[in-house]
Symmetry: C2
Amino acid sequence: MAQARLTIDLGAICANWRALLALGRAETGAVVKADAYGLGAEQVATALAREGATRFFVALAEEGAALRRALGPGPDIFVMSGHMDGDTTLVRDAGLTPMINSIDQMLRHVEALPGHGFGIQLDSGMNRLGMEPAEWSALRDIALAQRPALVMSHLACADTPDHAMNARQLAVFREMTDGIEAPRSLAATGGILLGPGYHFDITRPGIGLYGGLPFIDARPVVSLSLPVIQVRDVAPGESVGYDNSWIAQAPTRVATVSGGYADGILRAIGPKGWLWAGETRCKVLGRVSMDLIGVDVTAVRTDPEALELLGRHQSVDTVAGWAGTIGYEILTALGPRYARRYLAP
Amino acid sequence: MAQARLTIDLGAICANWRALLALGRAETGAVVKADAYGLGAEQVATALAREGATRFFVALAEEGAALRRALGPGPDIFVMSGHMDGDTTLVRDAGLTPMINSIDQMLRHVEALPGHGFGIQLDSGMNRLGMEPAEWSALRDIALAQRPALVMSHLACADTPDHAMNARQLAVFREMTDGIEAPRSLAATGGILLGPGYHFDITRPGIGLYGGLPFIDARPVVSLSLPVIQVRDVAPGESVGYDNSWIAQAPTRVATVSGGYADGILRAIGPKGWLWAGETRCKVLGRVSMDLIGVDVTAVRTDPEALELLGRHQSVDTVAGWAGTIGYEILTALGPRYARRYLAP
């Protein structure tokens, strides 16, 4: 088959979760939004729930409802976009906990679902989601009287440990929440690595679970193998791929592998990319096309049956570097066309 | 709800197909690989089959099998990766027509499925898929005796009409195929626009169906609307988004919309991007994050409920330009998290 194979190591995800748990004394949740960063929210959350995780974070109520079907009753599912117009039925029927971002959302929630649990998201300086200090001052006493399940904020610069913004947001968050009874949360993966002062009661690791930076000690989670469709000899002067973007300077053995930007192998990787045949590194030739990539396999003794893009030799962050982006985007871009195999914990 | 809404106009796709059909006298197929460039192979192919298309092209046998389930018996489904090891059952059971790319594939096909239809893919210079001239010389008589359903090649530079490569590949293709009885195909969308000399018997439009360049007369097919989660005032000196990448110089009203790189809104778009509130253009502020984008809505009179990224005001090619890529990738990146609505033809 020409279908590329994506292998997802649930054992590595669980090991990463335990490693992040061990970095402090907070309870450790799991961010499984965006289909667990492209790796399968159902499989990932089920494995982490068995490992002991009881708090999961998604972006949308629709994601929360799907996750509830996978997990069954019990675990808390927090919805970061809060309680939007039209969400009420999903929030109620799936027992979701919306993270209320504004007074508008608070009014909507208490009117539509009085007594239904909620959390509060505060803006400590990122200006993305959550209540501003002034809004919080106005609402705080009323909101806290209803015993929110969680009060959280999010760091803008946690992946840069020495950024002054981290301490500034920490101070704002403390000022907004010190002395309250509700459980507090500030740290995602980057925040966890900043140290226990950032952990509060509940941490929310995402990228670290999935083997990406800034958690340099993470166990790698994904490997991606692209089948070779055919191999040919290309003579000097001949070109490979769209727009003749690579021209052979010497006799070259070229493999065409199955996989392309429609599979989330970003087109921006272009000729900076490498794949591996066993221990031999093989250069991408010319442009990544929609379903296919040309690769130089001249140095490989026997024509390979498949080449590896992600795995033992290179991580999502290596690949991200070629495309000028971050490992997070390499993960979430992983497409629907792969044959996915899960390694059990 | 915070779920973004992607609207796909099947009527526009059918109109684009008819417009490309009218450009010559060849039969017009339809390329629906990569889930019809991200827009839904089942819906798109069903609509085009009703319009009269009878030949569909996919990349993988797995895609072909899914398409057969959607279309039922009748239409031809050509598999561009050919007959790979492990494909035999799918090819046989779904009645697929593999495009044979090499002598290896030819041997596999006739041994595994003697008498089962196939096509031939020839390499006319792109060095990606298909038999080289020497390989074709060796196999030609044997292959043609078995009446292939199609003999095709693919142009590397058709989106650049004045590229010398086009005439060169045309000459090679003619040399390899002139005088044969089997139906021939060379042109995808770009090739169709090069003129009838490139059309042969069957054309294979892809991107032109979906409203992308190089078919400048295409009707736009997709619109994408991102719900606003909340709106806030940001004072001069305050930052928005990850890594404080945007800092307000003046009082700014900032909307946080639901949609991000996990939805295929490429992170590379960054601060070059714009969204629309009705007739008002609104700038992206800072980085595109996984599920969220900050947008300047200062100029919008009433806080908007949603902002438009793709639609009447800007095409997939406009958005692609910000990210340094092509409209094709904007389409195939469109993620699984959208609420998809299809406008019937």
